[in-house]
């Protein structure tokens, strides 16, 4: 089954080369990619997920606010049980101090992310994206 993936960044992040790259990569893995673009407000992102019922939501952020806004986003998402089956992952440069994004992993995982990647963990990301999700969202009619 072809996986559908929503690819996005967070409200204050306007970097887009990361998104262009990840779209190419995910398409090479056979995903259908919905690239929501830059500076995505959380409500827009949540609406996109309702509309497109993806298997995955991939968040990429490099401007240093990713750990703060990622937290806000995942907490907001929890309020929508219909989105529960989506596999949600985040990666990039999540803080401003040059420390590994893994340093924020524990908190973000506890809040509900399924995986947190440091900027170097592309191979790990690829293997996860190659695994099927147990998502049954597809069956829910809108």
């Amino acid at each position: 089954m072809k996986q559908r993936t929503v690819l996005s960044t967070l409200p204050s992040d306007s970097h887009s080369w990361n998104l262009v790259y990840l779209q190419l990569l995910l398409e090479e893995l056979g995903h259908e990619v919905i690239n929501v673009g830059t500076c995505v407000p959380i409500d827009v992102l949540i609406k996109k997920c309702h509309e497109s019922r993806p298997n995955n939501l991939v968040i990429s952020s490099v401007n240093g606010h990713g750990h703060l806004d990622g937290m806000k986003m995942i907490l907001a998402m929890k309020k929508y049980p219909m989105l529960k089956g989506i596999r949600v992952v985040i990666g990039g440069k999540l803080g401003t101090q040059g420390c590994d994004s893994k340093d924020y992993a524990e908190k973000l995982l506890r809040a509900g992310f399924d995986a947190v990647f440091s900027e170097k963990e592309i191979p790990e990301f690829i293997s996860l994206m190659n695994e099927d999700t147990k998502n049954n969202n597809q069956k829910i009619a809108l």
Partner: protein, 422 residues
Amino acid sequence: MIYNFSDYINEMKRANKLVVQPRMGFGTLDKMKQGLLAVANCNAPTIGTLTLDSYTRVNDFISPKIALDSHQEINGFPIVTHGAIATRELLDGIVADKFAVQVRHGTALPVEIIKVLLAAGINATEGGPISYCLPYSRLPIENAISAWATCCELLASSREKGIINHLESFAGCMLGQLCPPSLLLALGILEGIFFKRHGLVSVSLSYAQGPSAEQDLSALAALHVLANEYLSDIDWHIVVYTYMGVFPKTIAGASEIIKTSAQIAKIGNAQRLIVKTPAEAFRIPTIEENVKSLELAYSASKNLENNNNLAIDLEEQEIIYHQARFLVESVLDLHCSLNKGLQIAFKKGYLDVPYCLHQNNKNLTRSVIDSRGYLQWAETGNLPFSQDYLNDFSKRKIPITSDGFLFMLGFVQHKYDNVKSE
């Protein structure tokens, strides 16, 4: 009391000195003040920078407060959240001879920011309706154009009080990398005309260092000619940016690219250079890293003997000049109002930035780095060029893989990191 930005630039021009300026911004008033003081006292002719955080850039003035209250670092100075009074106090506390400052932000709808910076006594900022929309926002260009028109008029209105405010166009950077020079120049000139039509009398045009120093010098020469043609009735200068794309990771590679950018700026007759640091590839730089880089860049601008024989390629200068001028004229011809003309141009794809995901950008154009290291058009989409302006590259379609894309993005980084680690 902060000094007037354009006065300082013109004084340094007469003294034949390249002005160097950091990209620096910290969340708290204290740290921002320390940073500005260090820049003011550094061993080079400098201008101080307040780089704003990216919450402020999307007009979110609450998140900086929440972050700062809980001692979280943010990526710049939240000028609106701190407010005009606190910012003015901060600046008044900087006792330094002839110290000018500029606010650099990256905001498509900046009316609030402009009001606060003017109220804080600041007389220089950066932006533009296209260059602060496409790379920084998902909002329609139309909204950015009208907001920037208002902002230009606000900036220009200080003339009644005898104050000349300066505005720099960010168009010489666009997405930081892989935008061919002719489009950078055309957008810069168009924004310069936009600023002028909305009342500004002191502007700067930017150009970001690219993969080839020869191509950069050719582009800078073309930019001088164009600026003289279109903006001769106002005060203008050229500002160069140290490479704005994926940055070298080694200290040696980073230092080399910074030095090269300073030499390009000096030889290319720019008045000012915005300098990066060796921390660029990893994180927000410290105050010390900024100061060191400013001094490195300034001293490189004075040592042009070992400049690796940097020279203009006249043929390339011709190509860049004609492509850029053609784009400018095509857009000016679309409508007597440039505000409208710019919108139509993007709708038609007469202006189209490679790889830019913005909703109003056609994203049909592509670029490639050729064997000389020059940035070229690979696909020109609907750009209205006639065939004479184009080369073989722009006639063939190249499919791109994720690896190939990373390789292209990493070209400059590898060029500098490899040379130095040999």
